[in-house]
Amino acid sequence: MKDKGKIIAGVAIFAALVSFPFWYNTGTAKPAPELILAPEAKAAVTCILPKDQMAKEHMQLLDGWRNSVVREGQRVYVAEDGKKYDMSLSNTCLECHTNKADFCDKCHDYAAVNPYCWDCHVNPKEK
């Protein structure tokens, strides 16, 4: 056990390095971005699901839509209130949420997620 000192120093340096990103970034966390609703979305008042549920589950919902549309050929979504929607990211979601940059991208950037929806799906309002 002659190297006790060296080992402890090594472990300490290792622990410091590994935890570096954590303590370096403490206190610098940015607040979650405020979502801006486009006028079209405000005018529509309700989304297809309650707001909280949309925030949490829109990705699963879109995944469900895609299976339904592509696999089953069922393209119409019936919301709780009986209202019918075309299951389409470009033609339904973005009809109301016309501000993709402020609505979708802002949060995705914050969360560091990079959905590849837009590689194929078109943002109809894009200039």
């Binding site: 995944d63 696999r71 019918k84």
Partner: protein, 260 residues
């Protein structure tokens, strides 16, 4: 002791299997929309097996161009100069290339030079579907051989399997070839680099009761309908005319018929 060890292992094995299955089911994470919440449009056109008859006597080079353009513009199919990168859903083909199993060195002039239109045959027994390892290519209940671009990994097994060359691969981002990177029909998605694509028999149009774009543009040269319905127009046309199919002897069961 032996017995209980044995049964313990059995139970442990079965439970491990159960846990794995359950967690996998979760991992795949398919979020199924309850059936009462996902319905078809009231105007939907349905069939047991969609098919097409192409009356080649009515085709001209100009009409073929018009038909292909209507399909390609509406489906955001890019026009690429490099032949190796070309993407096509419906295109003109020489008779001897379209019907390689009818070789005839003394073919009637008119037939030999007839501008044939070719597209995916939406085969009844599609080899592309068998080849696809991800089920990105699949056959719908109405016979349409469709692609789920989300699932395509770009392996191109399907292209090797299709005996008709009906499939194209996106060697580059198709949007690069579009004006300002913008698709011609903003209501329809584009594809992305690394996926295969082909004709979809206008599944998105049938879903709202419309005929495919090519049929609409064809001035009567293309007849579309339900092959399984004896009283349909397409069956009437098939009854009254001699038709051939491309490489039918391979057993693929093409659903596109040609009056020559």
């Amino acid at each position: 002791m032996k017995e209980s060890r044995r049964s313990f292992l059995k139970i442990a094995g079965v439970s491990a299997l159960g846990v794995t299955a359950a967690s996998n089911a979760h991992a795949i994470g398919e979020y199924f929309i309850p059936s009462e919440q996902a319905i078809k449009d009231q105007k939907v056109s349905t069939a047991d097996r969609w098919g097409m008859v192409i009356d080649t006597r009515k085709l001209t080079h100009e009409l073929n161009e018009k038909i292909a353009k209507s399909c390609h513009l509406n489906h955001n199919v890019p026009t690429l100069e490099n032949k190796n990168h070309e993407i096509k859903w419906i295109w003109e083909e020489h008779y001897e290339h379209a019907f390689t199993q009818q070789p005839n060195e003394f073919q009637a002039e008119e037939t030999a030079h007839a501008p044939i239109l070719t597209l995916c045959n939406h085969c009844d027994n599609p080899p592309c579907v068998q080849a696809c390892p991800t089920k990105a290519t699949f056959q719908r209940e109405d016979g349409i051989v469709l692609m789920d671009f989300h699932r395509c990994i770009g392996c191109r097994f399907c292209m090797a399997a299709c005996p008709y060359g009906s499939r194209s691969f996106n060697f580059r981002d198709p949007r690069d070839a579009m004006e300002d990177g913008k698709p011609t029909n903003p209501e329809f998605p584009t594809r992305t680099k690394g996926v295969v694509e082909k004709c979809n028999f206008c599944a998105e149009r049938l879903a709202v009761g419309k005929d495919p774009y090519c049929v609409e543009a064809s001035e009567g040269a293309l007849v579309f309908g339900d092959l399984s319905d004896e009283n349909s127009e397409i069956r009437k046309v098939l009854k009254e005319n001699y038709t051939i199919r491309r490489k039918a002897s391979l057993g693929t069961g093409p659903s596109v018929f040609y009056i020559v």
